[in-house]
Symmetry: C2
Subunit: 497 residues, 2 copies
């Protein structure tokens, strides 16, 4: 077959895969946002069947031959096509090792388990969720074993979310944080006790919070023709293509900071999803470089921008307009200090920057235990609570605020959490580099995101999934990943608070 | 092959078809409700590819052999299975005559055309929509010809929406209305001129209108775990299964009657979709008997219930609570008269019951012309306007309020409109029968829908698509379809107004 013919066939494969991914993505999104409560069973069945269909369309001799024929002729391929072929081969090798019936069962489980988690969280009923969670860990351990029997299963998972990362790398990273950052926490928490934050729990009308979310995306120069904001139990972003990205938030009347910062966070993911080079649109290269790099963008907007003094000074008059009664006796600086107040708290997504990594460490250690040791799922609440007591000196009053708080495990995203902490660290390293050419502080103070957005787009986002995280960081920063930027940033910020 | 093996294969086919229908249905729903504006292209491409996939999964020798093997052994099949087989064979024969590439092109066109229509309606730009509309009519004429070259193409279309109906039947029905109802209109309109309706255009806050829509579904005893209300340009209902039905409405601040009655209308469709016998759930028998029968249920709730004096008296205190300022000087009887005031008006979905059929006649005659005569699409606005002048004595000031007002043609639903008028007529005939055993007027006056809903469910809705409209009407009413019930109802109501 001529090389051009092979490339055409690859394009067809891409379009076919895209069509399924699109419809299944929308169906998931719908299930997480607006679908009626009782819809979950039929959705789970439909998704299981369609996942079987996508499996059959991809895992077959014809596709295998196509991919390996292209690989054999790699010298005739341009850089982008070769990267696609490599990604596909990687995916092929991963997926083909999982029997189709188990793959379909797993898709069905994801939907059921997600539903069970929602119910369990709403009713503080870990027991109702435990059987699903148990199956979820079982499936994932088995899959990891199918895929790479020589590697420790948890390392297989870590690599999925952050290519090239293993437990040793994560340990090294966390050890550095334990050395540089953890020692600051106790004093910082003690010294911050006087910072007032009562006003954050005042009732902020939900419709006004929605207005604020919408305004924030305007400030970040996002084009409303290409994205929507929806609502779901747990905020998430789904990037379908360069013209269709959706992110969600959750509005709680008594928690203004929750929707404010989840909007800033998810907007960061969304901006990434909107800024890939158009030549990757709808292809296997249209995701981000990794979960960690995706998190670097979301945490950039959430924390480095959104929790900065400059940004709060800039946005505060708008907030005063929206919430004149709630904020009448609160200054911008008081707001800044409240949303940065380091606290030994229960909920990861509401944690301050300084203590955030502790929440991740708890999850990392539990995932690791679940994979490496014999742990009964029913013991997880107790393990969770004791780790919170150990690291944060605080015990969750119930499982809803404890082990049930995050959706990830319900959906099989095991090994994902470390990428949140890595993302924060990447973001600090990127910011340090950005500051060489962009007047970040004064731009943020003016609410001018043209140069900041352009820098992130041109250096990071435009490349889609072309580079691995390591390659990308080296390319952008001219040095390897270095967590000291993150440690320095935290030390600087929290000594100054 | 054993008969049970064949039946198992049929079940597999059903589940596979269902999975695609589900995901594509959700994707369409998403496109019509929340998707960002620029999403339409990728959605159209994905839907075209998936429609090609569903085509290939259905139109092939294996399925053909399965269906005809089952048909050959029909004596061994229970009633439900045989009905499924017949429906599938019918669908097979329809679809297999359309070449796959044209089928896919058409799916893509539906999405693009729908988008173009939205833009055109928003900008009063018929020219922007005309090329899509032209292609839409071309495709549909060609498809009708493929499917049944012996039949007039427009009759093929009418039969799609209302099995067994041809132009002659529709002509007979409309002629009866022209004889019995149209003569009333002029006087009724003149005599009603004094009825005040100014208050319907007062500003009714959208969030309160949403509350009203939600309350109306509570009154109708709909279970919120099984359905949602969303918003779209043009209200519609999508019934996915017995546990997942969605309907939409559109809230205009200055048109309270619009969301009120579109909610009642779509709720009727939704109730039908929720009440099929569970044994039809997710199967080819889970639709309604026909479009006309579906419309009979929506118009039942919209008009026979929603526009009755009894219902308005019942719901009015709730409305006064929601809209104390807007309705402070309006009595229930004034509201009743306002929403029933016969008017020679422009917009079909806001028309009163008496003049509604005139709007349908305009559309029916235009569709017929487009199929039977040489008409240039660019002449449609002029033709539309002259017909409105002829039938209703009123000329649309622009195309947005004229030929662009309805979505149907943009989506290829040609031959659909007559079923609205038929549905109203069926509804009157059903009501007359219902009144033999249900105290309709007093139940509605009490807001008690238990017996009314149960009658509709047990007699009509539970049967899904098992019976043709003619069979169903005979079964329910012990007589064939008879438009005199409709004429009598209208005469009674409007002489009394």
């Amino acid at each position: 077959m001529e090389i051009q013919e092979l490339i055409n066939k690859l394009n067809e494969l891409e379009q076919l895969q895209y069509a399924y991914r699109y419809a299944m993505g929308i169906t998931n999104f719908d299930g997480n946002t607006v679908a009626p409560k009782n819809s979950y069973k039929a959705r789970g069945q439909a998704m299981a069947i369609l996942s079987g269909e996508t499996y059959k369309k991809f895992i077959n001799e014809e596709v295998k031959e196509l991919l390996f024929s292209l690989k054999e002729n790699e010298k005739q391929l341009d850089f982008t096509t070769l990267r696609k072929v490599d990604e596909y081969i990687d995916e092929y090798e991963k997926t083909s090792k999982i029997p189709m019936n188990e793959f379909m069962e797993y898709t069905k489980l994801q939907s059921d388990s997600n539903h069970a988690w929602e119910q369990a969280k709403a009713n503080n009923d870990f027991k109702g969720f435990a059987p699903y969670l148990e199956k979820m860990f079982e499936f994932n351990k088995r899959f990891a074993n199918y895929r790479n029997p020589e590697k420790k299963p948890y390392n297989v998972h870590l690599d999925d979310f952050e290519k090239g990362m293993e437990m040793d790398d994560i340990d090294k990273f966390f050890n550095q944080l334990k050395k540089d950052v953890v020692p600051l926490i106790k004093d910082a928490v003690n010294e911050s006790k006087g910072i007032r934050e009562d006003f954050l729990e005042r009732p902020f009308p939900v419709d006004k919070q929605k207005e604020l979310s919408s305004l924030l995306t305007d400030v970040l120069k996002m084009d409303k023709d290409n994205f929507i904001i929806a609502e779901s139990e747990h905020p998430f972003t789904m990037g379908l293509n360069n013209f269709d990205v959706r992110f969600t938030t959750h509005y709680y009347e008594n928690m203004i900071a929750s929707s404010f910062y989840s909007t800033m966070h998810e907007a960061g993911h969304a901006i990434y999803g909107l800024n890939h080079d158009l030549k990757y649109n709808g292809t296997v290269l249209s995701g981000g470089a990794s979960n960690g790099v995706h998190e670097s963008q979301s945490r950039f907007y959430e924390n480095l921008v959104g929790r900065s003094k400059q940004f709060i000074n800039y946005i505060y008059p708008t907030m005063k307009n929206l919430f004149p009664d709630q904020l009448s006796d609160v200054s911008a600086n008081e707001f800044y200090r409240a949303v940065n107040k380091p606290k030994l708290s229960l909920i990861r997504i509401e944690a301050d920057e300084l203590t955030y990594s502790l929440h991740i460490m708890v999850r990392y250690e539990i995932e690791r235990m679940m994979f490496e040791e014999k742990v009964n799922v029913n013991d997880l609440p107790a393990i969770w609570n004791s780790k919170y007591e150990e690291y944060l000196g605080i015990t969750p009053p119930n499982d809803t605020k404890g082990v049930l708080q995050d959706v990830h495990w319900a959906f099989g995203l095991i090994g994902y959490f470390p990428s949140y902490a890595l993302g924060s660290a990447y973001a600090s390293q990127f910011l340090s580099k950005m500051k060489e050419t962009v007047s970040f502080d004064s731009d943020v103070a003016k609410g001018d995101f043209s140069n900041i957005n352009a820098w992130l787009k041109d250096n990071i986002q435009i490349h889609g999934a072309v580079y691995t995280p390591k390659q990308l960081i080296e390319r952008v920063c001219n040095e390897p990943f270095n967590p000291k930027y993150y440690a320095d940033y935290l030390k600087g910020k929290f000594s100054d608070l």
